[in-house]
Symmetry: D4
Subunit: 221 residues, 8 copies
């Protein structure tokens, strides 16, 4: 559907099993509402809107009312209810620190909107292994793990060595100095000595949640 400033894909749910999501950064509130409306009207629901500030969220609430939910810490919104989780396995979302939770939130909201059960495990960075090892059962019960970490990003390698399922690693921009806005964590995860680990862009919680859902849903086919 051609809106002039955007080509909205109204058949994506049918074709790829998930509706198009709206990347909110660099779009005006008006553009976002128009695209969301076009998607919702075409039954491409729920509609996810990522990287939106509180005032853009406000514009969406005005437009969609109670049908819109906003998760402020992850700067992500959803138009339409999330489906009940289907019978597939769980997705474990693990963070190294408290400061990584916003990225985790984006991943969790995404995965839940796509019908998955999610197990959140926060602040279990490798400098205190006992914290991570205390959640070993949850980790091994998952059908896919999303490992989220900034700084040195070592969490992905350690988790990758503990589980037998795919690990989607998300580097975050948490850190300072030579963390270079997430580049160190990104490089670290790409060089993971554990097999079964792949990586998405820095702070890309949405991409991790979407990919994890693809992997998890596969199990139930």
């Amino acid at each position: 559907m051609e809106l002039g400033f955007a080509n909205v894909d109204l058949e994506r749910l049918g074709r790829q099993g998930a509706p198009e999501a709206i990347f909110g950064e660099g779009k005006t509130a008006g553009q976002i509402v128009s695209i969301a409306r076009a998607l919702a009207d075409a039954g491409q629901s729920p509609v996810l809107v990522t990287r939106i500030s509180p005032d853009k969220a406000e514009a969406l609430r005005t437009a969609f009312g109670a049908a819109f939910d906003y998760f402020a810490d992850g700067r992500i919104g959803r138009v339409g209810a999330a489906p009940a989780p289907d019978g597939a396995g769980a997705i474990a979302v693990v963070t190294a620190g408290t400061s990584d939770i916003p990225v985790a939130r984006e991943a969790i909201v995404t995965a839940e909107a796509l019908g998955n059960r999610v197990t959140p495990i926060f602040d279990v960075g490798v400098a205190g292994l006992h914290r991570l090892l205390g959640h070993l059962d949850d980790l091994r019960a998952a059908s896919v793990v999303i490992a989220i970490a900034g700084m040195e990003g070592a969490l992905a390698s350690v988790v990758g060595g503990l589980v037998a399922c795919p690990v989607v690693a998300v580097p975050t921009s948490v850190g300072y100095g030579a963390s270079f806005g997430g580049v160190t964590a990104l490089l670290s995860m790409l060089n993971s000595c554990a097999a079964g680990v792949s990586v998405v862009n820095i702070d890309n919680g949405f991409g991790a949640g979407y990919l994890a859902s693809m992997i998890n849903q596969r199990e139930t086919k």
Copy 2:
């Protein structure tokens, strides 16, 4: 099992569903043979040995005879036969160019050693879309796609937009000048505008094959 220079993990097959593979670079032929022997003796088979030169391969053939296969273009060897593919879906292995085939070989040998059916699709880079679109049926039939490309690495994004399954992107060091040994393809793939794409290290065919197998095998559980 402690060999002095190496700690061989003899229970990995049971614990993670796949035996430890040997990264051949930086190890002597003698070390490689010793580790491979320890794994094979413990029933951790087939044993994959990656990144080995022809003369190291020769040493393995001397040690294991016909039980050893060497795939020269991918510099990868295997001790013990590959299992027959199980009933899971196929893994499509797609390359942008002829020069990416060595990395594809590493991925294919790995995936087959882990019991997967593989569909190879070579030299279908995006500068001639008709080549890629001609293989659309094979791509859509796969349960996971490995997209391998150097230079600008655009293949991953285009494939990601065409299929509904996970895409494991492998940047290669093919290119010159500002390709920076694969960095450009790596960055390009990390920034893919298609959802469902994740990335492994440059030239890491093994990692892609291993991860794709994890995802593909999941389907049959």
Copy 3:
């Protein structure tokens, strides 16, 4: 013409076929108005002023009244009317996403000020190939294409493979994380596997429009 802080080139229109444009960043409103006045007075018209904020634009409107047009989304202004397009071919301006439109605007305003017909094609990124392929006729009818994309910048390669005319690629700073403010798209475009693609600086819509005009005008000589 020596203004103390600037050496204005009053013979450029005669010598190079296009008047000097004013790069607004790092100049005060007063400096911009003085230079624009000097150019307009010397018949070097229309005068383009790039990268100007709304308040600098306001100063220009005060100085030039209705002779000044401001295109807010592209932060570009023009003193004097754009000429009617001459008989040369069209320039297609293609963007991967909605967020790339500001850079496209700079290119379009520039190309039109230099007397070209422009065909805008927005939001046709490669993750949904059908959107791009739906505009194939317009693309093939153009005598030069400007391909504008951030993130992984794959649009340039795909377009380059579809058309037989020169493609001017403009990387944009749209993206996040490992897009590094446009560097990934820049590198991707420089490594394009399609022949006939060349690249200008990140977000340099002006440069692309100017060069495309040079190429397009050539046809009519």
Copy 4:
């Protein structure tokens, strides 16, 4: 045409006005000969083969005899005769130094194979402006200029300011220390303060010659 390791495009001459060229790096002599044979047999001629060592060139000479020409300093070969130049304007190929001539050779052989007249101007770097200014007539007579330079790459900007036609800038890996294998020249050219300059990959003489031909041929339509 599917060769197993390569998908040869046998309709490119008709579709895009120029046959597919063979990038020789990373291909075996046997693969190159097979692809060249397939192209020549299909009338896609002359066939250019870039980045080939003398011994790969030898294999081509064995296969094609006198129909094959090899230009050792540019490591480029051609199967089939170059056409006589058509009536279009000339392409000026300018280098900053003697060491840039190999890249210039690749551009010249490419442009001539595509039917263009070429004016070579070598060793006219900006540290001795009189050398460049002495060729001003040739530069201004060209319909497109290819500016080739390593080190600080300033040649592109200076030439861009002297001519009214498009300048295709080619950074070369000539230099040492902080030239970083051509990166400095590449960045310098991307930031050119002269309008009308665009850039191709480091050492990409072929790409520059191909693009310059596209622009030059346009004039005669």
Copy 5:
């Protein structure tokens, strides 16, 4: 002289021929005033204070009254009068564009405070060579040239080829996209093909003025 937060060098004028200058960034207004007072009281005059905002300048004016001069475009101040220029040759300060003038101001104020005659030549970037060549007499009359440019920084090479005296090159952060805050100009200047060119840090007008003074003063000994 030990101030607790600073070790002020009160004998520098005698030992090195020029008093210590105060780098204002990262120091409070109070600290700056204290250090300037200590220097002035010890006869180390005039005192230069670089990189200070208008409000820090205000604090200095309050403290020193008419003895303090502030040059707002260069964010540099001076406590105490500049000496009359001695008999040494002139320092030419050349900029590529209008936006480079703030850095030039820092260099000029510094050089004049150290007793030099300065010839400013602004906005003579290489994309319009006639502007630079029009000042050839002034350039050749100088005993040292400071060449200041952002973007591709080609000015240093071109000037270096035109004069027989040392050229101090100052890259500036003027530019956008792949200028990387001055890195491109810096690299370009370091790779200058002209002999006699050396480089100081990005935007370091002070360092250039100081060094040029050292070179210029030498002539009169």
Copy 6:
């Protein structure tokens, strides 16, 4: 202790000899107070809170009253009194400039909270060696030296050659242009030609103070 958003380690003092410190960046004031309370209640005292703004400090003062001390220049706070220094040797904290003092403060507050005697030596950068050599006795009396510098970071090498004890080098983000926010100082320190020098992250005063304490305390065992 599981707080939902954080896993607080309440046995760290016993296990590692020092309580967990709170990295304040990216945590809300409420989260910081909760974690600090949990630690203090468990006798893990004093509690250090690094990288906190004045208003987060205010929240801590409200919560803990006089038990909380805030050191504004180092943006670090401490809940609970610092112990009297034990009998171990002194830690010398040396800075190149006045602008490095904030990082030094973080190191000093940390080291004192862990029971060490600290000798501060500020503004003794290598461009005026006499300033550093004037403190040689204090440097040689220390059992470990923390060397803090931005810009070219040469202080670490020079100090490393003067003392016989370990030197912990801390690069700071002080500088401009090609200092790249501390990267130059970091690289310089990693390449120190003096043996006995190791490096922590840019601006990581806490890490340096903690490590220096570990080394210093060792002496008294």
Copy 7:
């Protein structure tokens, strides 16, 4: 002692407690022998010679006979016997993989030459935590740990969280692709979330062994 090409420091043992070591790279065999002889003659023994090829080692054996020992895997030699370990604690030298052993060897030979007891623990990378945890007693008994790893370098953080003593982290150039010759491991270690970790240059086993000795010897004063 002035040798023309070198200034040998013959009082370093007295002044800093350890003789000067010879960095063999970039020196001829003759220069190395001369310097070693000067040191040995002055009683500065044992003399360590790092980074020497087998043929330079041969020259040293010819010169010093049985007094020279060469450790080929670490490319390090020693003239004169290593002292018996004194009573100080042990230094644990831990590597992530087999390929890191050469760097470990340099550290071990250095530490032993300086009179330390060393506990080597090889091939215990974090992808198989049980391997590392199996050596927990040795790690906790050490007074300082040297953690050596390439690829993602996560070993340093995990070890840092397990022990209460200083950890000297050594990134190695082991890896491929985005390991960038050790840069990824270096950055990862600099960003370690564990306190008490500091870092030396890539592959700098000598520096780590020297620093660890300084820390370990301190304990016995």
Copy 8:
């Protein structure tokens, strides 16, 4: 003089006071001999040839006999005798280590060919300050200092603080790991906290010698 592959500047001695030098890298022995002959025949003597291998040097000796001198450690040759030093001051050439001598040699041969007196001071790196301070008289007697160092490049800052004359800093590629082929030394020198320091390209001994001569000769005018 146009040689086809080169434009030789036969009036440079008259125009700039020094003949053109030949950069030998990337030129064949034949090309070098031709250019040198053209220069020598035109009285542009002595002719310097930099960066030439022993066999290219052999070709020059064959061509010019005893008139050619080759300095193997600096890979530099000279056709024609060096003039006797004129009455100007001395140039001190200082290196941090023995491995920096080849770059120093290039600088010394260049400076002497241009008629300067040179004082070489080798292996006085800052990790042993007494070595440098022992040469303070020579340093302070020089009219310009060339400071040559690899690794962390701190020598330039320390020397810059000790002398009152200009310091030309030359970073060298000596080092390993994070020295990045001289980049660390380069950045360090650009950020020097000492005024009066400027920098040339990595390993550019020729450029430093040429510039130092320009500065030194000025004194005698």
